[in-house]
């Protein structure tokens, strides 16, 4: 495999992209999970699908060959994120309502675009479930830029993102620009979803943001450690999934997700074992 990795550009693209996604998806995922926004990732991935379908339609009907579907997917995702915020403000007491509205809106739009195009070739399928061979050098560069942006922002705004996640009311009362920070956050979520879907696919994108985090929360002490473990577990899932799918010829997206599920099950088991130990210092658990 190592030999092939040096030989074929598409394999290099897939691996490097996978490694990057393995870092940024769980990194941002920690904030998404602790803020109980896990389903937003799902809603946005479906909106991204609409963007990709729109892009493929334009390509087919208007023969815009050079258009990378990633760009329109990203645009739709960001616009969808802004709509979710708007809906959450309108339905203050039913904030989760924003998610099914955006999710079904996204799919509805995607289905219309697909039917207008009289169906696409295998391209769309690769976006739904991820495709290693579909990752181009141009995709890789776009994803790299997005990732540097996201990692940079999280590094610079770590304190603010933490206080916003832990206690929004306290953040407001301390005079933090809560709305602006949240806006930046939701834009990052939209970007990371668009970036991740190439490898794991739209239908599985949210899993990379939540599964490693779900496992990490069970074993980590503190927030920084939760982030560290999430990234490590995410990275392990991506690497393991790519290698395994290469050797036994499985769908990489699905394999990555199933490894993440496996890791989660193992951590749940580990935690159960540690619960049987005596409690130290008389601390309540």
């Amino acid at each position: 495999m190592i030999h092939d990795l040096f030989q074929y550009e598409f394999l290099q693209n897939a691996f490097i992209t996978g490694m990057i996604i393995g870092i940024i998806a769980p990194l941002l995922g920690v904030f998404i999970v602790v803020r109980r926004l896990s389903l937003i990732a799902d809603a946005l991935s479906h909106v991204t699908l609409a963007g990709i379908a729109a892009s493929l339609l334009l390509e087919k009907k208007l023969l815009l060959v050079g258009l990378n579907p990633l760009y329109l997917g990203m645009t739709f995702s960001v616009v969808g994120a802004l709509f979710i915020e708007k809906l959450r403000a309108v339905y203050k007491h039913f904030q989760e309502l924003a998610i099914p509205i955006i999710l079904s809106g996204g799919i509805g739009l995607a289905v219309i675009f697909i039917s207008l195009a009289d169906g696409f070739n295998t391209d769309l399928f690769s976006y739904l479930f991820g495709s290693v061979s579909a990752v181009s050098r141009a995709d890789l560069y776009t994803i790299l830029v997005i990732s540097l942006f996201v990692v940079g922002i999280i590094f610079l705004l770590y304190k603010e993102l933490f206080i916003l996640s832990f206690d929004e009311e306290h953040a407001k009362a301390s005079g933090i620009a809560v709305k602006r920070i949240h806006f930046i956050f939701i834009i990052m979520v939209a970007l990371v979803i668009a970036a991740s879907m190439r490898v794991v696919g739209i239908l599985l994108v949210s899993s990379l943001m939540t599964l490693p985090v779900a496992a990490s929360i069970r074993i980590a002490k503190g927030f920084k450690q939760t982030i560290l473990y999430s990234v490590l577990l995410g990275e392990a899932s991506v690497l393991g999934g790519l290698v395994l799918s290469y050797y036994i010829d499985l769908a990489p997206g699905g394999t990555i997700v199933m490894i993440a599920v496996l890791i989660l099950i193992v951590t749940m088991f580990l935690k159960k074992l540690s619960f049987n130990k005596p409690v130290k210092n008389g601390v309540k658990s």
Binding site: V34, K159, F162, I163, D167, A173, K221, G222, V283
Partner: protein, 259 residues
């Protein structure tokens, strides 16, 4: 900003949600160094008053001054520490250590795009020590008892060296045994560190010995005075007429007259 001005001055404050007034014509002064309790039943507008003072709601009618500055121009929010009702704003499964939670109290003070320095780390440890939780510094906050968690939030409020600490029903969900030591800690903060305290509670019995001033609120403000006056006021309500408490000394004199 003038430090001799009262910490909080509220004048003619009226607030309504939709059409109904929740607060009407409130006048309130919190002098520097005082320990003031705002007492009132549920739905009396206590929380609304706090939110207005904390700038979480916009003033509709009337005026609020903080440290002598009009609230709309007030920028120095790190001078005010806030401890909310724990149950409302906190997810006990949140994976954060006591240290990390207390550190978040410095977010505004450190400032945007800036990072924590060694002096900040010392401050955090000092704040954790001052609430007696040094042994729990690197425990996840969800592993602590309710009373300990509330102390973590006090430490988070104290870490930025506030002049005023506002507490919204801080003992809800704290077991009775720990409530007393909790109030003793507040008294210490007030007396030894000179921090002005504003406490919202419906349990005046527990605090009437510690506080210096009491405010009774139920849409209108119907009592505002020091805690000794409050005790008299409360008794006259109970007994239906003015009460002039007699000391035992006084009784002894009366008896001695009789004999």
């Amino acid at each position: 900003m003038d430090d001799n001005r009262p910490v909080i001055e509220v004048t003619g404050l009226t607030y309504r949600y939709e059409k109904e007034n929740v607060l009407e014509d409130i006048h309130l002064t919190v002098p520097t160094g005082s320990f003031l309790a705002v007492v009132g039943p549920n739905g009396s507008g206590k929380s609304t008053l706090l939110k207005l003072i904390l700038g979480l709601l916009r003033v509709q009618e009337g005026k609020i001054r903080l440290f002598g500055e009009d609230i709309n121009r007030f920028k120095d929010w790190q001078r005010i520490g806030f401890v909310s009702q724990k149950a409302n704003s906190f997810n006990t499964g949140f994976p954060a250590t006591v240290y990390e939670v207390v550190a978040s109290g410095l977010t505004k003070k450190i400032g945007l795009f800036k990072f924590m320095k060694q002096e900040h780390q010392l401050k955090i440890k000092e704040a954790i020590r001052s609430v007696g939780l040094s042994n729990y510094m690197y425990q996840n906050i969800g592993e602590l008892s309710g009373g300990q968690q509330q102390r973590v939030f006090i430490a988070r409020a104290l870490v930025s060296d506030p002049n005023l600490l506002i507490l919204d029903e801080p003992t809800v969900g704290v077991d009775a045994e720990n409530v007393r030591s909790f109030y003793e800690m507040l008294e210490e903060l007030n007396k030894e560190r000179g921090i002005t305290l504003l406490l919202v509670t419906h349990d005046i019995g527990a605090v009437s010995d510690q506080v210096s001033h009491v405010v009774c609120l139920n849409k209108y403000l119907f009592f505002h005075g020091n805690s000794d006056e409050f005790k008299l006021h409360e008794m006259s309500h109970l007994f239906g007429h003015d009460v002039h408490p007699l000391s035992h000394e006084h009784l002894e004199k009366e008896f001695s007259h009789d004999s």
